[in-house]
Symmetry: C2
Subunit: 437 residues, 2 copies
């Protein structure tokens, strides 16, 4: 009997604890496993030999993982293994603690690390099975879109369905807000996660597949990569078109859209940390819309909006990936099963694989759990398909909707919608006094 270590890497998701639970439940059924350890704060916990004894936790706590968002139970980290010394240390710790199974839940970089650990273990004659579990909200782990409408390597990453559902519901609620407030706040700008990748902002469209809400979706891939002023002008024009037609507008913008220097700090992977930038896209955009760069002699901003009122911004931030009330049941179940399947792969004795989700082509949503070499994942790259960006550059196509819709689970909330039955007018026309200015 050997012990098993589970580690998590990178940003959490709403359902990553379900993958953890899946691995634990499955390992607990096996006679090959002695103890299950959790690496405290990801791979740092291995390096620092800080291993939480998961086998010593009550079964109630394991069950509660199902309803616990984010990755606070054993923790995660953004530490990148770059040196052979760190790799050797991992092997040293695994040897001393009789680790036979290493599960690494993370993105592409983590699969690369798991692969390196596996290679070194073989060289050092350590019997170690390394198994990857995919997890991102950005949905960037896997290969490109294939001709059959599914993605190669990993159709979608556990965690994405929930952040997509979260944003879809956010937009439905934002629409109620915007309908309520547009006479003073006609434009609501929501800056969302996803770095330079558009899968998250694209999910806003799932709120309104019929395109009735005055919604603009700005993906990093749709706009210029360097002409920030051109991008600001372009978005402003689109906003004003919506204001002309609807009197109001909701803008969802990916945090990685090029709108000027954000003063971005980077994590140890070299990834930009948009959450800690000096400025943010939604702030830059509303400042431009509100014309704070053009102040008159009294210091009053000169708005670029064609209607009365202001553009306001918000930034749900990490809450996008940790709201338990908006978890997609489909995503949650898949995250669990991907964990279960990872344990099954490992227990079968196969090494160097990632548990993955393969989707059957066609109109009916059907997936199978599958395995793929860590090396393949580490060298895969997924971008948001250019062909899913609509011709006007401020929306996504129905192909995206068809692909993404099943991932967000059950029906979205349904809100009251009064019919526009107005009482017949009996008075003269009137312009409110404050509106004459």
């Amino acid at each position: 009997m050997k012990n098993a270590v589970i580690a998590q890497s990178g940003g959490p998701t709403s359902v990553i604890n379900n993958s953890l639970r899946g691995v634990i439940d499955e390992l607990n059924l096996s006679k090959k496993i002695n103890k299950i350890y959790g690496a405290k704060m990801g791979i740092l916990g291995v390096l620092k030999e800080e291993l939480v004894d998961i086998s010593a936790q009550g079964s109630h706590q394991i069950a509660l993982l199902a309803e616990t968002p984010s990755a606070g139970t054993i923790g995660s980290c953004r530490y990148k293994i770059k040196s052979d010394e760190d790799l050797a240390r991992i092997i040293e710790v695994f040897k001393k603690h009789e680790i036979g199974y290493f599960f690494y839940c993370g993105g592409g970089d983590s699969m690369d690390t798991a692969n390196k650990v596996s290679k070194l273990a073989q060289k050092e004659n350590l019997e170690l099975i390394c198994t990857g579990i995919p997890k991102t909200i950005d949905n960037d782990v896997g290969g490109p879109l294939q001709a059959d409408g599914t993605f190669a390597v990993c159709d979608h990453n556990p965690g994405y369905g929930s952040v997509a559902r979260n944003l879809a519901i956010n937009i439905l609620e934002a629409n109620e807000e915007n309908k309520a407030s547009y006479t003073s706040d006609p434009v609501l700008v929501i800056g969302v996660m996803g770095r330079k990748i558009g899968f998250i902002p694209a999910a806003a469209r799932l709120a309104d597949p019929g395109k009735k809400i005055p919604l603009l979706i700005i993906l990093p891939e749709a706009l210029s990569k360097d002409d920030y002023l051109g991008n600001l002008e372009f978005i402003t024009e689109k906003v004003n078109k919506k204001l002309k037609d609807f009197g109001r507008c909701i803008v969802v913008i990916g945090e990685g859209v090029e709108l000027g220097d954000l003063g971005i700090l980077k994590d140890s992977f070299g990834h930009p940390q948009f959450s800690a930038s000096e400025r943010t896209v939604e702030q830059l955009l509303i400042n431009y819309l509100n014309g704070t760069d053009k102040k008159d002699e009294k210091g009053q901003a000169q708005s670029r909006l064609i209607v009365r009122g202001i553009a306001r911004s918000e930034r749900p931030g990490t809450r996008q990936r940790r709201e338990i009330a908006y978890v997609s049941e489909v995503d949650k179940e898949e995250a669990y099963q991907v964990g279960v399947y990872a344990a099954q792969i490992a227990l079968s004795g196969e090494n160097g694989l990632m548990s993955t989700i393969t989707r059957k082509p066609g109109g009916i949503y059907k997936i199978t759990y599958d395995k793929v070499p860590l090396e393949v994942v580490a060298n895969s790259e997924r971008k948001f398909p250019q062909e899913w960006i609509s011709a006007d550059k401020v929306d996504v196509t129905d192909d995206f909707i068809n692909w993404a819709q099943p991932l967000i689970g059950g029906p979205l909330p349904c809100f009251a919608q009064f019919e526009e039955i107005y009482v017949s007018k009996k008075c003269r026309e009137y312009v409110p006094v404050e509106y004459r200015k």
Copy 2:
């Protein structure tokens, strides 16, 4: 038989539609009422004679108001009635449409307007009953804290309980995020609503009455009103104390805390629109913590944090007052009953009153619905009690918790919490390579 008009004013809440529903349900039971109209976009709908026929809507839509957040059904506005001409126009429209009942749901300014409309109607011999319905998320409508521990005039405003519940759950989820990510992102700053009033940020404490989470609560009333640099230094010191003790920290900061010039735009009431400011407190705070004002010759920011990693910020914005999943059931029911009671006041023939919530003193939560003259409300002012700010200025007292706890409804989510059972160490000490730099 006369017709009734309902109008909404100012920022929406998650439960304002329940007050609307309460009024409608109660009026529908009365034989004194012919038709019920909704003023489209608040008082602007009266001025512009845009009246939605609520009586013509299906009963299913009225029922759906219970589950519909914000005020998008008939809309609201931030238009302030300043001139006699506008007031006269309101009377003109009411006369032409045989309006006998006017319900105005809003904050203190709206109660003032309703009072003025009532006065002018009497002068013009229009039989009109004007009734106010309180609604704010800031909880600033009503009088001061009394010796018995309840607030005068209106103990708490419908809408506040839900925004408080929303923030409490946000903090529990943020804690999972912060526990997961602190090795790279030790500080999470959440900027919340409430303008210059601390009731909203204070509600963060309801997540953790036992004070186990490393949480700082920064109320506008607790810090200096002009020394922004002193405030930044003070908060930084408190953050670093938490980092020293816990390695991580969550900061909840009210949008109206003085941290420097935000470049704020104002609405027509003259209220600052923090949502449309050029800069935000949470951004100013993380920039200071991350030391973006102190860059070295390579352009690298010089962090003021005593630990590795960065401070990140988020801004839930209007989502605080429109997430249907986090509505307080207590708040929802009270919002409904305040609407019902307003209709009862009006139907009884009493004019110039606001429906209100009176709380019984003592440990057991008990309220009664009551009435108070509009004039009293219009001249009331509520501030966050200074005595509820803790001595260290970064928290609230148990008296606040005891007062606020019943307002947020049922139990908060419970998340998995592993016991800190670590595997015994067997290897030498090790510092990860990247941490030696």
